[in-house]
Amino acid sequence: MVVQHNQPGSTDQSLIRNFCIIAHIDHGKSTVADRILQLSGIVPEREMRDRFLDRMDIEQERGITIKSQAVRVPWTFDGTEYTLGMIDTPGHVDFTYEVSRALAACEGAVLLVDATQGIEAQTLSNLYMAIDHDLTIIPVLNKIDLPSAEPDKHAEEIAGLIGCEPSDVLRVSGKTGEGVADLLDQIVMDVPAPKGDPEAPARALIFDSVYDSYRGIVTYIRMVDGELRSREKLHMMGIGMTHDPIEIGVISPDMTPTKALGAGEVGYVITGAKDVSQSKVGDTVTSALKPATEPLPGYRDPKPMVYAGLFPIDNAQFPELREALDKLKLNDAALVYTPETSVALGFGFRCGFLGLLHMEIVSERLSREFNLDLIQTAPNVTYEVTAEDGSEHHVTNPSEFPDGKIKKIVEPMVAADIIAPKEFIGAVMDLCQDHRGQMGTMEYISTDRVEMHYRIPLAEIVFDFFDQLKSRTKGYASLDYHEDGEQSADLVKVDILIQGEKVDAFSAIVHRDKAYSYGVMMTKKLRELIPRQQFEIPIQAAIGSRIIARENIRALRKDVLAKCYGGDITRKRKLLEKQKAGKKRMKMLGHVEVPQEAFIAALSTGEDATDRDTKDKIRAAQKTEG
């Protein structure tokens, strides 16, 4: 292992280079990062593979917390040892704010693009954010070892986006290591050194905060001014809490306690904080003894954008669901939840998420890590509803939608950026139009790919937009979006009634023009999904008291085994026992037995209204509107 001369707490800022890597998922960020660790000598080559595997195991055991969020890497260039701070960025669309904090902790960003695929919308959006933060961009094409790589084409694309020459775009292979040393040299040459005030009161930016089941909350910080010492009390300026630091240190590549962290350095602190909400991303850490007067700019509380109900299929699992959410919350300050009772689904939680991906991650973790069988209701956004009597309602759940006449409904909007090959321009435009999108500008980012800008209601995005975008562009389009104010819109609540009983889980707030198709599709879906029973079951969709669509499940007429002789008895008994077990998974809605699968399938968004019967029924429903 190499001997490091630059010690934490006493490294001159001029020797420090802090950077992050901006890359789309699968574009090879971790392979390149691993190569960097290896080349720097802090991980010996022979340990590389073991270490990598090792880390995966621990990650599996302990969740995602052990990841090298911020590694201190020595790199000698021109005979001088530099200290590189390599900061990880969350790569996805819902975590824009987290990404922006990670960017704020750096002076440079490596833009890593797969040479076989080119840049994706989310990467582009993060790139723009990095440019907005005035970061020095080092463009890099990865996977140049692959035969399908098209480095020249994509170098041109990148050059056009960041305003450099195609020849400035570095070419590397994380797999073979080719070009990675050059990349490190380039970082030292191009990325500016930090320019904080080492003498001022300490100010450090929290750019990540994770729960580790062994160590508690580990908070990753970038020192901006001054110095934090291991025995000083820390103060979180935004939330106003003071903690005793248990440990201050750097990661290189293991957690290494140090006596101090100085201006410009990247490291971690462990405090007694119980969950990540006591140590929030974006907050400023200062010394409690000698506090700074002004926090660093840009702190805000993440605000849930999308809500959905989560209900255990087996209601007995409700306490387990609560426990699981409490545990996830340790690691996820943005997750909010309150208990909710549904007539149809029993006890569960109304959960708020940053976006669809955040929602998917949470529900996948609940099922994978906590073994919970859940029904998730259709996601919806928050609405500000003003009733005719002037009363105002903050609606995060269709059941909170006020009855009676509505004066005004305001819904959240997003600015959506879509990158797609040019042959799909028409398809994307149709899709956006169908989803109430207002077209902004469109740019060619290369000769055959365009970036299109739309303003779209968030509600449209959360419903089925992304799936449809993927299917209409054969998977080639990528999407990024961020909040963009709000608008008032003509929205209605559509209820679904089974045998005359309103089923709260299926209610949805939709645009009036979409109400008919929602009603028709939902009633048709349920007709397919609910098994025939002893009596006829009407299924209706209604706006208020007005029925807009109906289907009938005819009464079951025959449900009998024709032959039951000596050799059939055991089999028949076992079949009945199996059916009995299946009945336990049925929800009773009034007298109607509804299989859990029906809820899951009915609440999954997806297919288009393409069959003729559906189209006819939607048209008929719209006609009755007159």
């Binding site: 002893q534 025959k558 009998v560 008994r573």
Partner: protein, 406 residues
């Protein structure tokens, strides 16, 4: 739940041979003449008789002391593919082994193509008194779909031969074959009635996925039988048969009073029976061993036992040659399972489910609503399914399970 013991005792003989396999057939039957290992058509009676002796010894060794048989039933497959003398020899051996009560019902199933007047006469002389013909349909196109080879005229001849020999006869019908119209079905039922038989069975076509017909349906070359169509056909059969004086006594069986199949009623009353032949099931209400082979601890718990013979005739024959009762498997029937069987079988028959057999386990508040819904009638402590209750029999059974907290 304590029942008078011993109950009636019945014998079932499975004959696993056919000339050819019908497209819908899911039974344990083989078209080869000789399957090796002594399992040939010619040697079959001999093998069954040897099995009978092994089973009798096993019963003796395990505290099962059965009375003389009150019914004997030869089913298949096609029992009448064997020589009449073979069937009679098996019957004689049963008489020797367990005895047969006076006036016992002795039935064989018959393919109308495999019997003639002489054959029927030989059976009657040997002690058979009932014959059940596989008629299936009177409509040629339907018979073709069902893959049946017999000519409708042979059914008439068979029934006449049975009448002449003084035997009772029954015919089986199948409804719901792809392409069968409601009128086709009416024709079949009326034709069956016109035969003058006193017993008719009518079964909805059941499609097993691995049969020839099942594969054709999966491939889309044949339409799936439709439950609603089958329900209508059930009602047609019940109306026509009832009007002709044949009353339903089990979901799929109609008879003039006194002509019910006593053997089959035994199954629905859950009596004891020994099933002999490949794949045949046996049932004993009380058996004093844990292990069917007699290995293991004896128990005084009056658990029931059901066993089933090895399905393939060759392996079945090998087991008999080795002196072992040729069982493929068995299960002990717990009290709870016995209750489930009592319910599901009792709710199939017109004599109904005897509520006293449920031992007070049933919550009647959950049963009575089914009367109002027109699914059941309750008379003299017995629950009888209505026609709707017969068609929705599984629903009724499930609600009984619920009401018994099963």
């Amino acid at each position: 739940m304590e029942r008078g013991y011993p109950l009636e005792y019945e014998i079932y003989i499975h004959v696993p041979f056919c000339m050819r396999r019908c497209g819908y057939c899911d039974f344990n039957t083989y078209t080869a003449v000789d399957l090796g290992g002594g399992a040939s058509r010619g040697n079959y009676a001999n093998m069954v008789i040897r099995e009978m002796r092994l089973v009798h010894d096993w019963q003796q060794a395990h505290g099962i002391d059965e009375p003389p048989a009150s019914t004997v039933f030869f089913g298949g497959g096609t029992p009448t593919i064997l020589k009449a003398a073979d069937l009679v020899a098996v019957l004689d051996a049963i008489r020797e082994t367990w005895g047969i009560v006076d006036g016992a019902e002795i039935t064989t199933e018959a393919n109308p193509d495999t019997v003639d007047a002489d054959y029927v006469r030989e059976l009657a002389d040997g002690g058979f008194n009932r014959i059940s013909f596989g008629m299936q349909s009177a409509v040629p196109s339907v018979l073709r779909t069902l893959d049946r080879t017999h000519t409708p005229a042979n059914v008439v001849a068979g029934v006449e031969a049975a009448n002449a020999a003084g035997m009772r006869s029954s015919v089986d019908l199948i409804y719901g074959a792809p392409g069968e119209s409601l009128d086709d079905w009416r024709t079949s039922v009326k034709t069956a009635i016109d035969l003058g038989v006193n017993h008719i069975s009518a079964y909805a076509l059941a499609i097993a996925p691995h049969t020839k017909m099942g594969r054709r349906i999966a491939a889309g070359t044949l339409s799936t039988p439709d439950d609603d169509d089958e329900a209508s056909k059930y009602e047609i059969a019940d109306d026509l048969l009832g009007a002709a004086g044949l009353e339903w006594y089990e979901i799929s069986n109609w008879a003039r009073p006194g002509y019910e199949s006593r053997h089959n009623l035994g199954y629905w009353r859950n009596v004891d029976w020994a099933g002999l032949g490949p794949g045949a099931h046996s049932h004993y209400n009380r058996c004093s061993v844990d292990s069917p082979e007699g290995v293991g601890e004896r128990t005084t718990t009056p658990l029931g036992l059901r066993s089933w013979d090895i399905a393939h005739p060759r392996l079945w024959g090998r087991s008999i040659d080795g002196g072992k009762v040729p069982w493929a498997g068995s299960e002990r029937i717990s009290r709870e399972e016995n209750l489930e069987e009592t319910i599901m079988l009792g709710l199939r028959i017109r004599e109904g489910l005897d509520l006293s057999r449920l031992g007070g386990a049933v919550d009647m508040a959950r049963i009575r609503p089914m009367e109002d819904e027109g699914l059941i009638e309750i008379r003299d402590g017995r629950v009888i399914p209505t026609r709707t209750g017969r068609l929705l029999n599984d629903t009724v059974i499930e609600r009984f399970f619920d009401a018994c907290s099963l």
